[in-house]
């Protein structure tokens, strides 16, 4: 089903996408000293991507995002965990944060941690909202590439009649 779509809405949304993203990165960076931070920045970025998908479609949005949102979130979690665990290498407790000041601008490991949070929030916002934005039919709520990523081959529909069909579907992926 093809929704008729307003030209103005599309253009404005694309424009807004850039503006919101810039603003959300600004919020992320100044978060330690002023209102903002990883959560807000991440939600902003995530919502800008949702807006884009409303304007140009989920598939186009994913082309812009380039990476799978779940991978983005996992990367974020990895960044946050590693930045917390790193001080343990030289004997400091887990989650020790270091701060330095360069030319009046405070920089430090809290920012790395916040970037991790930011990435997780972007990833899950986009993934969760887009999850129902496709024709959903069991495994088919995922694109073929995603299916190979998340679904193991053992996963089968619960009832028998469909089984063969789904399997041929898988066979097609290959």
């Amino acid at each position: 089903m093809n929704l008729a779509r307003s030209f103005i809405f599309t253009r404005v949304a694309i424009f807004l996408f850039f503006v919101i993203n810039l603003f959300s990165i600004y919020l992320l960076l100044r978060g330690h000293n002023h209102p903002g931070g990883g959560f807000i920045g991440g939600l902003g970025s995530g919502m800008s991507l949702v807006l884009l998908s409303l304007a140009v479609g989920v598939e186009q949005m994913q082309k812009v995002l380039r990476v799978d949102p779940v991978r983005l979130a996992t990367l974020g979690l990895l960044v946050a965990t590693l930045s917390s665990a790193l001080p343990m290498l030289w004997g400091d407790p887990f989650l020790t944060q270091y701060n330095i000041k360069i030319g009046g601008v405070g920089l430090g490991t809290p920012l790395i941690f916040d970037i991790g949070v930011y990435l997780v929030v972007i990833g899950i916002t986009v993934r969760l909202i887009v999850i129902l934005a496709r024709p959903v039919e069991g495994l088919c709520s995922l694109t073929p590439i995603e299916r190979t990523r998340y679904a193991s081959e053992i996963e089968k529909p619960i009832d028998q009649p469909i089984e063969q069909k789904i399997e041929t579907n898988w066979g097609g992926q290959g």
Binding site: G37, L95, V117, V120, I131, G138, S141, L142, I158, D159
Partner: protein, 821 residues
């Protein structure tokens, strides 16, 4: 020495995954591979024993959880070495036996040997433990591994029942033991057995006087519940015969030689500590000897070969328990002789039963007979072992029984019931033992060979005979030359447990009263056999009310039924009814607290008596409040989903106004963004529900009573929350927790946004966990959409519902690829 001991215990444990792999690869031949493990442990423990003429006690301690007083602390002394030898030597024999017994008719050989080695490791850990808590951990591990072994043939109902019964009985009683151990440890301040023996116990008793005797007695009784259940003493005797559903090697290992001896071992272990308590003798003597008699009688009345052996084990364990009970506080003697004698003949007989079962296809004494013609070697082995069980001269059982009677006679110097009762019971039980020993041999190997047994008969592998033959040989050798064991008994004697006497065992003591009694028992036994005859015994049976196992199973089966009744009584299976009950309970209880303490709470808020509502309400804020109230009311009353959703969005956006008023810029921004995301998400969901659902919902409304009840619950909840929030928010704190963060935000976290420093620095771990939870929720949501149920017709209809808002499928071809072709 530390390394050797740890290797002996850990090696079987480490071999577990290897054996699973070996079983998958070599099938039934994995048993030969598994044999390496107990052999190594045996060699290592033998090495520990070697070179020590008089065994000195050695303790190995590795700190584990020092703050709780738990240490990996092992003790090497006579008692632990003796049981360690029994466990590993029987492990060798049983593994050897099992490697022929578990032929290709069985499955999962790797799993079997893995469980067996796990069990052996737990047993070794248990007997070498010096710390009571460590001992308990291994104790429970033996329970779990025995559960796995009893239930090994888990496709049979009786295996499952037996395994469950053993686990619940020993595990449940184990909890009582844990309570006793903790009580003892907390009262005396140490969990170390050596420290307890060397004065911690007497010291604490001296310090606190007689009043603590009660506490120590409670601790002791609790520990004894665990120990007696493990050794299947009355009233826990029911689990052992039911555990016989296990494969026979398991029965021979666990249920005659090792695990059931753990209770006896534990009693011996705490003998130097607890024997001074008043409760020691009456408790152990009464339960032990009562069990001895009951077990013997049940053994006579059983018809299953394994049942006979199981009950006779119960009986013998009862004797051992009572034996420790009546030993005076200076120490016991020759206890290890009785244990060893029992291990030899009972392990042998279990293996014999396994062979008979294998060859004849039956274990029922009423159906068997005449096997001596087919299995002459086995008959000889059985005769020796059964003679040892009956206590005929020339066997180890005779030596054991002579000294047992001697101990009882020596003890009989006053008229107290604790003195004459044991002797009487021991004599009766020995008589019955002679009877069922005769019955066992006679009904299995002699008499006519029934035709169906003859048809089924196939010859067992010669390998299976090795282990029972070795055990029977031991019975005979040590029976004829008993002095061979004396040095071992002297070496293994333990300070505090054993009397310091120079032991010299002799087969002939002259015409003593023990000998006459022994002769009398044998003669009477034989006479009684002639009198009763096989036929009359075959018709008898154990009264079912004394077996307890049916009552236990009925109890176990009743638990889910009772739970179901309670569930349906509270309507917990119907959330529609249950939710108002839960919510009503919570809010009524909290609300009534607020009403009861209303005056005091009002004082806390700092309001004077003459306050007016108008002072507290601001026109602008009240206007916003009014708007929210209208929006919320619309959410509830409107009938169209989309309009409800718009009203909901209004509520969310109006709330940001309050966040701004509370000086929370971060929150206001987050709220706006999340509200937008929520709206889109719920709209996506609504677009997938059919329109008929929306209209149908309008038509079907709940009953009036239900609606009134819901409204009542909701009103109470609203009022409670209002009162609660107002009281809590206006109450003054001397020092709010937040002050710390305000003060430390710049100096410690180098950030001026106190909210953000809390999130990424002070409480960074919470944030880390939170983002983890978010990721998990996302993966869970994805998982929910991967599999679901549908009918064939629906599958044919293809993807359902309209696609999401504003979503365009780039091409029809692409879309086809995603859907079922």
């Amino acid at each position: 020495m530390t390394a050797v001991l740890l290797a002996a215990i850990l090696l079987p444990m480490l071999s577990v995954p290897l054996l699973v792999w070996a079983g998958a690869r070599w099938g039934s031949r994995a048993g030969r591979v598994a044999l390496v493990v107990p052999l190594t442990s045996l060699a290592l423990i033998g090495w520990l024993l070697s070179g020590a003429e008089a065994m000195t006690e050695r303790v190995v301690t590795i700190p584990w959880i020092p703050s709780l007083g738990i240490e990996l602390s092992f003790i090497v002394d006579g008692l632990s070495l003796f049981f360690g030898l029994v466990v590993s030597a029987m492990g060798v024999l049983v593994t050897l036996y099992a490697s022929s017994y578990l032929d290709d008719h069985y499955r999962d050989h790797g799993r079997f040997y893995a469980y067996l080695m796990l069990f052996m490791a737990s047993m070794l850990g248990c007997v070498f433990s010096e710390n009571l808590l460590l001992l308990f951990v291994f104790w429970e591990m033996t329970g779990i591994s025995s559960f796995l072994l009893i239930g090994f043939l888990h496709d049979k109902q009786d295996s499952r029942d037996g395994a469950r019964m053993a686990l619940f009985t020993t595990g449940g009683a184990g909890l009582a033991m844990l309570a006793g151990v903790v009580l003892l440890g907390e009262v005396t301040g140490t969990y170390s057995l050596v420290a307890l023996r060397d004065g911690a116990m007497t010291q604490s008793m001296a310090e606190h006087g007689a009043s603590w005797d009660g506490i120590l007695t409670v601790a002791f009784v609790l520990m004894m519940i665990g120990a007696l259940a493990k050794s299947a003493q009355f009233p826990f005797h029911y689990w052992l015969p039911n555990a016989m559903a296990a494969p026979t090697p398991v029965s021979a290992y666990l249920h005659s030689a090792t695990m059931v001896k753990l209770g006896v071992f534990f009693i011996a272990r705490i003998f130097p500590i607890a024997a001074m308590l008043e409760a020691w003798t009456p408790l152990l003597v009464s339960i032990g000897f009562l069990t001895m008699l009951l077990g013997a009688i049940f053994a006579l009345l059983s018809h299953d070969l394994k049942g006979v052996l199981a009950y006779s084990t119960v009986s013998q364990l009862g004797f051992l328990v009572g034996f420790y009970g009546m030993s005076n506080t200076d120490g016991a003697s020759l206890d290890l002789l009785h244990v060893a004698s029992h291990v030899f003949y009972k392990g042998c007989l279990f293996m014999v039963v396994g062979i008979v079962d294998h060859a004849a296809g039956s274990r029922d004494l009423r159906k068997l007979g005449g096997l001596s013609r087919r299995l002459p070697a086995l008959t000889i082995i059985t005769l020796i072992a059964a003679a040892s069980m009956a206590g005929l001269p020339g066997t180890m059982g005779f030596i054991s029984k002579e000294y047992m009677l001697k101990a009882k006679f020596d003890h009989w110097h006053s008229d107290a019931w604790l003195n004459w009762l044991p002797l009487t019971l021991v004599i009766i039980a020995s008589l019955v033992k002679v009877l069922f020993s005769i019955r066992l041999v006679r009904s299995t190997f002699f008499g006519p060979l029934p035709s169906e047994i003859d048809e089924h008969f196939h010859k067992p592998s010669g390998w299976m005979l090795i282990s029972p033959a070795i055990l029977a040989g031991c019975c005979l050798t040590f029976g004829l030359w008993p002095d061979l064991i004396s040095p071992a008994l002297r070496t293994l004697s333990v300070e505090g447990l054993h009397l310091e006497t120079s032991i010299h065992l002799k087969i002939w003591h002259g015409w003593t009263r023990e000998f006459w009694t022994s002769l009398g028992i044998m003669g009477l036994g034989a006479f009684a056999w002639l009198l009763l005859g096989a036929g009359r015994l075959n018709r008898a049976g154990i009264p079912s009310w004394l077996r307890f196992d049916q009552a236990f199973n009925a109890f176990m089966n009743a638990i889910p039924a009772i739970a179901k009744k309670i569930t349906s009584l509270t309507r917990a299976d119907r959330p529609m009814d249950y939710l108002p009950i839960i919510l009503g309970t919570i809010f009524v209880s909290v609300g009534s607290l607020i009403v009861v303490h209303g005056a005091r709470l009002l004082e806390l808020t700092g309001l004077r008596g003459d306050w007016r509502v108008s002072e507290l309400l601001d026109p602008l804020r009240s206007f916003v409040l009014l708007l929210v109230a209208i929006a919320v009311l619309m959410v509830t009353t409107l009938r169209r989903w989309t309009t409800q959703l718009v009203a909901l969005g209004t509520v969310g956006f109006l709330l940001t106004f309050y966040f701004v008023l509370f000086r929370a810029p971060d929150l206001a921004m987050t709220q706006i963004l999340v509200e937008a995301a929520t709206l889109i998400l719920v709209l996506m969901l609504l677009s997938r529900f059919p329109r008929a659902a929306e209209t149908g919902e309008r038509e079907s409304r709940p009953a009036a009573t239900r609606r009134i009840m819901n409204i009542v619950v909701a009103v109470i909840a609203g009022l409670t929350v209002t009162a609660f929030t107002f009281v809590v928010a206006t109450s003054k704190h001397a020092e709010p927790a937040g002050d710390f963060y305000l003060k430390q935000s710049v100096p410690a976290a180098k950030g001026t946004n106190a909210v953000n420093t809390i999130l990424v620095d002070f409480r960074g771990f919470d944030t880390l966990m939170e983002v983890t939870v978010l990721l998990i929720a996302t993966l869970g949501a994805l998982g929910l959409l991967m599999r679901y149920r549908r009918t064939e017709a629906e599958a044919k209809a293809g993807p359902m519902g309209p696609p999401g808002m504003g979503v365009i499928h780039e091409t029809d071809a692409e879309r086809e690829r995603w859907t079922d072709r």
